[in-house]
Symmetry: C2
Subunit: 306 residues, 2 copies
C-alpha cells in the first residue's frame, strides 16, 4: 500500500495557486511532476525539486494522482482530453482532482467521461489565495466518493489546512465554491465602492479602514484587499479578470435556471468595466479605479507607471 | 465639577437602541431621563430605575446632556425644535448627542442652529445592535470639539465599548457611519443572495454557513444574520425598513454629488422590494424572502403565521 500512501503526484498548471501546491507536495516528500506551457514556470519548479514537463501527456504514465489547477472547466477538459492530454496515458484507477472553479454540471460531466476510462474524479475546488497555496494551507471544498478521501489523505494534508467534505456527488463541492465566490466577488466590489464613497466624502482612508475592520461593516475581503488600496499597490495577488471569470460562472448557472442574482450581476459588471478599462491583470482591488473622481492613495505614483 | 463628571442625562427615543443606552446609564449611576411617545416604553424605563416623560420639553430643564436616539435627521430636528421640543427649555452649555444615522450636512446644519442657542452638539452615530446597546457596549463614530469628549467621558464609557474620535468637525462621524452602513446593507443583501443561490443549487444551508464562515466569503453580517435564516426566525433585531432608510441616506448623499454607487443602489432596491412585499418590520435577514422559489429553513412554520 506504499504507493497509495505516498503516490506520485502531478500538478497541471503552475500558476499562482498551482505552483504553491506543487512545491508544498515536494516539501512533503512526494515525487511531484509539474506541467506548464511557460518555460519560466517549469524552470522555477525544477529548481524547487520538482520534475517539470511541458504537456500533460508527458507526465501521464508517471503519476497516479493529478491535480488540475487551471482557470475553468474548458481548460480542465482540454488538459484531460485535448491534444497531448492526460487520459490516453493515465493508468486505470488513477485519481484526478478538479481544482478550478467550475459549474457543478461541468464537473459531473467530466466525472462521467473519466469513469468510462476507469479514472476517478474528485471535485476539489480550492480557496485561500496564493500565499496560503505556497504554505500548504489552502481550503478545499470537496465532494466525491469517501474511498477517494482515504486514498488522498496524504496529498490533501500536504496542500490544505482545511478540507470540507461536502458529499459523495460530484458538483457539490463546486456548488459551495460558487457560493463562496459570489460573496467574495460582491464583497471586493463593495469594499471598493465603500472606500471610494468615503474618500469622496472626505474620510481619511486609513482611519476608515481602522474603523470598519472593527465594525459591523467588515468582511474577510475588506480586511484583506483594502490594504492594497491604502498602499496604492495593485500587484496582482488575484487579478480583476479572475472575478470576471468566477462571477461569470455564478451568473451563468443562475441565468440558466432563471434565478435572479442582482447584486452578483452588479459586481460582475464592475469587474467587467475594470477589465474593459485595461485593469484586468491588476489586483482585483483595482476595481476601485472605475469610481470617478476619487483621490486614491498612491495614485500619482501609479499614474506615472501606466 | 461634580455636575460635569456625572451630569444628569436624557435619552430621547426608547426604542431597541435608546432603551439599552438609557438603562446602561441608569446602571452606571447616572440620573437618567427617558422620553418616548409610547406609554409601554415609558413604563419599562421607569421600572428600570429611570425617569420617564412623554415629551422632550418635559425633561429639558432637568438635564445637561441629551442623547437623541431617533431614526433620522428630520426626527432629530423635530425633537430639538418642534412642538414640545428640547431647545426652549435646555440650559446654555448643555450638550446634545446626535445618535441617528444622518447625512453629514444635516448634522452640520443642526450644529450651527444649536450653537446659536449656545448648545453644543456632538456628531455621535452608534453601531452594534440592540444586544450591545443593552450591555453598554456600543461603537460610537464621533466627531466634534475635543472639550466635548472630555466632558462626556463618563457618559460615553457607560454606553460604549469603543469610541472612535473622527475629527473636530461635525459630519465626520456621520460620514464614516454612512460608509459602515453601505457595507452592512450590501453585506446583508449579499448574504441573502448567496444563501438563496446555494439552497436553490442543492446545498445544505447549515453546511453552507459552516463553510463560508471559515472562508474568504465571510463577513460580519453573514456570520450575524444567516443564523436567523437557518432558524427561520425573522423576529426583528434590526428591521428591513432600517436599511431602506439607511441605504436611502447613503444613496441620496451620493446622488446629490453625482457619484455612482451601483452595488448600494441594488441592495437598496432589494430591501425596498422586501418592504413593498410587507416584510418591512421583519428582521433584515428577511430580504432573502424576495428570492423566488427558495425552500427556506422553517418556511412552513412562517407561512402558517402569515
Amino acid at each position: 500500500m506504499t504507493a497509495s500512501e505516498r503516490p506520485r503526484v502531478g500538478v497541471i498548471g503552475l500558476g499562482s495557486m498551482g505552483m504553491g501546491m506543487a512545491t508544498s507536495l515536494v516539501g512533503a516528500g512526494f515525487e511531484t511532476w509539474g506541467c506548464d506551457l511557460r518555460e519560466q514556470a517549469r524552470q522555477a519548479f525544477a529548481q524547487a525539486g520538482g520534475r517539470a514537463v511541458a504537456t500533460p501527456a508527458a507526465m501521464a504514465a508517471e503519476v497516479e494522482v493529478v491535480l488540475i489547477v487551471v482557470v475553468n472547466a474548458e481548460q480542465t477538459r482540454e488538459v484531460l482530453f485535448g491534444d497531448d492530454g492526460l487520459v490516453p496515458g493515465l493508468a486505470t484507477d488513477s485519481v484526478v482532482l478538479s481544482c478550478a472553479t467550475c459549474a457543478p454540471e461541468a464537473v459531473q460531466a467530466l466525472g462521467a467521461e473519466l469513469a468510462a476510462h476507469r479514472i476517478a474524479l474528485l471535485d476539489a475546488p480550492i480557496s485561500g489565495g496564493s500565499a496560503k497555496a505556497a504554505q500548504g494551507q489552502l481550503t478545499i471544498m470537496a465532494s466525491g466518493g469517501s474511498v477517494l478521501f482515504e486514498r488522498l489523505e496524504g496529498v490533501l494534508d500536504a496542500i490544505a489546512a482545511k478540507v470540507f467534505r461536502l458529499g459523495d456527488e460530484l458538483g457539490q463541492g463546486s456548488q459551495v465554491k460558487l457560493v463562496n465566490q459570489l460573496l467574495a466577488g460582491v464583497h471586493i466590489a463593495a469594499a471598493a465602492e465603500a472606500m471610494a464613497y468615503g474618500i469622496r466624502g472626505g474620510c481619511d482612508p486609513h482611519t476608515l479602514f481602522e474603523v470598519i475592520t472593527q465594525s459591523a461593516g467588515n468582511s474577510w475581503m475588506f480586511e484583506n484587499r483594502v490594504p492594497h488600496i491604502l498602499a496604492g499597490d495593485y500587484t496582482p495577488h488575484s487579478a480583476v479578470d479572475i472575478f470576471v471569470k468566477d462571477l461569470g460562472i455564478v451568473h451563468d448557472t443562475a441565468h440558466r435556471d432563471k434565478f435572479p442574482l442582482p447584486l452578483t450581476a452588479q459586481a460582475l459588471s464592475q469587474f467587467t468595466l475594470a477589465s474593459a478599462q485595461g485593469l484586468g491583470r491588476e489586483d482585483d482591488a483595482a476595481v476601485i479605479k472605475v469610481y470617478p473622481g476619487v483621490d486614491l492613495p498612491g495614485a500619482a505614483a501609479n499614474d506615472g507607471e501606466d
